[in-house]
Amino acid sequence: MKRSLLRLAGIAAVVGLWAAGALAQAPNFSKYVALGDSYGAGYGSGCLVAREQRFSYPAQLAKSFGITDFQQPTISDPGIPTCNTITSLTPTFGPISKATGAPTNAALARSYDNLSVPGYKIADVSDKTTDNGGIADLILRGRGTQLNQALGLNPTFITLGIIGNDILTAGGAGFLQDGVTATPLPVFTTKYNSVAAALKAPGRTGVFIGTPDPRFIPLASTIPYYVVNPATRQPVRDAAGNVIPLLGSRDTGAAGCRVGPAGKVCPLPPGTLVTLIANAPQAALGGSSLLGLGFGIPCSVNPTLPRCDFPLPDGSFTPPATVNIGVVLYPDEVLAIDQRVRDMNAVIKSAAEANGFKYFDFYALSQDLMTNGRTYGGIHISTAFVTGGMFAYGEAVHMSPIGYTILADEIIQFINASYGTNLERPNIAQALFTPDVPPPGTTGTITLAASLEFTEEMWRGIFRSFPLQDESFDLVFSAEPAPAAERAAPVERGRVIRLPRKRS
């Protein structure tokens, strides 16, 4: 009898410990706070605006959690900065208005539950208190850093979504250089671990979101490495039926290098990424785009182009503070950026696991979305620029309400799988069938220059939301290599624009 009682007591103790362990792991969704960057903020169409913010993944997670008082720093139309729209199906893009929107929830007497700030790197989460009147100040409102405000809300569940500003700028600038276009990995590691440790608290659970594949964003994946007929959008082929590579300045050892008017040019090898800025009309080019003038296009394809056989510019850094924006990422650069993303994701995963949080593999999701897209009731959504639906209006980096809903859906499914919960998935139909347009009367008459794919202003917008490591860097935009015969003419080199210096 005594032995039986002891055995029963033992079983009860084991069951009790197991139950206690299970309860310790069970998430409490009663107070949810989102830390992050532009993706968490619901930034799309080059702006923050309430009609898109309501589809941010934190807002949709909160709804799934059953939270009815989830507060965001909402902005009225036409957004801050002024939102972009598509103005023709050429396509052309432009701002929806000459005005800007205004905060509509600034009187909230506490910190916002969605504290995500566009442009934030991991260091900013714990260190930055102001951006001198910029978008961060609209969200932080002088109440302290993102991290401190989040902790002050005493959340039971958090998401930390710093998904790309520490590395993806390398894609926008066209080169990877620590301290210029990327956060050095040791710095990233230290900062991430510090933020993760600060977030750790008894009874608090959450999800850390990784960084996607750099090829996920249309900025880097839209223009192929070979010549495309702009009229038909089909590849131009040689007599043997092969595609004709665009030309760059770097000799990668591939056959076909030759001396062009601006020096040596070589075919871009397969796997090279050409960023959308190659197709954007630029003031420095008299309103034409690089590809429109013939940069990168062999004269054998179209000898009438004034800059045929000129190389597409490669990015570089000129000390002490000049960033020469390139439009070509060679395969080794793509590989290096990709490896850095993987390394950063390893840091995020490790930090999550060490502090009681879960790691959401956005990298794997982005590859899945690139390959398969998503289909709902026969409606296919892809990552294609402009027509795919997953990315915002003419946006080369940020997702649309449809894209953010897909991301929210994936995170919710991940939470359900990780924690054994049964949270309801978001309603994608609302995002699919709700026109993402400003209310009538918001827009004025806008006169725009025609563009094939992208605009200079939109490109500048990317660097507003994905700032370089030091915002005081000069960004030099399409420094056109002068033709050999014109190199003596310094005016050619002078046709660059410099974005105004900003000090943080």
Binding site: R374, G378, I379, N427, I428
Partner: protein, 434 residues
Amino acid sequence: MKRPRFRLNRISLPLALVTFLAATPAFPSGFQVQTQGAKATGMGLAFTAVADDPSAIFYNPAGLGWQKHFEAQIGAEFLTKVKGDFEGSNPYPGNGVSEKQHSTTFVIPNVYAVVPLTNELNFGLGINSPYGLGFRWDNPETFSGRFVSQNAVIQTVDLNPVFSFQATPTFAVAVGADYRFSKVQLERNNAAINPLTNSVVDVAHVKLNSKIQDNHGWGWNAGILFKPIPQFSVGAAYRSRIKIDYEGTANFQQRLTNTPFDALVAPLIPQGSHPVETAIEFPATLNLGTAFTFPGDFLVSLEADWTQWTSFKTLDIRFPDLTGRDLHRDDEWRNSWAYRIGLQKKFGAMAFRAGYYRDKTPMPTEDIGPLLADNDRDGYSVGFGFGTDHWGIDVSDLYLKVHDRDNRGRSNDAFYGTFKEAVNVFAFSLRVAF
């Protein structure tokens, strides 16, 4: 004994086909339609070991071995979808979305004739529609599943000549040919993202259609029936697979948004009519039954029916003159079983019948959607018959409750929700014998 000579009247094939195509079955078992005689329907379709009227040509042709006179039977089933509802859930089409299937009554006629050729050898001919599908949604231009299917129709007409041979007074076998005509019709809209609004719009309507006379295939069927004593019988019936390769036309029609987007979409839509091809392999079936007659003319029939639905693995739709338009759909259906019990109590010339069956669905949850939503079903039937040696009439009613099916989290079409269906079948048959 002088046997009546069988003489098939000059019934034109087209007329017969048109008569049968007036009917579109309203419910699928998969898309199998087993209600092919009022007597069998009244007994829960447990008729393989009974097979004592001309509809035996369909249920078990070996039963013709005991039918020693010229007999003809005509009948029809009136199928009414009494419930065809869908309640949506997230992520698509979303909570609160309700849809309805088009409700109407369809008529499926059937004709059977039995001609004794010798004392042991009989010839029979059946014309019926053993497979069919009519899955049409109300308000097709706003139906939330319109980009998967607005209307799906499969129609079949079988010509089924059989020979039965009663080898001994207690045992008969039969074999026959099954020549199946069929048509398929599918309709749906195509969607695209309108970049001007970054939202979904309808950009085209696609209708695939084939003609009944152009698409047909052969199969065979066989049956055995053993009655060692008058009070007991056991039988089996088999039908082979029949594959039909369909050729038809696809019509594409642009849906206008009245925005500049229409001009961008127009060249991408192959306006007009284009050839289209597909194939369906109708499954083999094996029906196993036994029947007992207890004192007082009380008959109990038990049956298990197996359908080889694994034949329906994929649905491929090909457009020979269009590039990049071919459609492929994995279906991966499972073989299914149905279990039936039928009762009959006779009072002289009158017979009262009842039946029940449980039919297991062949469709995996992942496959159910706007094109077809099937599930396990319970069938409850009652019937009445009155007849003499020279004529008879049978009527029956079958209520089929399809279990509600929720595909949340498991839909290949990513069309989530709960499908609810119920069908009522009223059947009658008239029989004459000479």
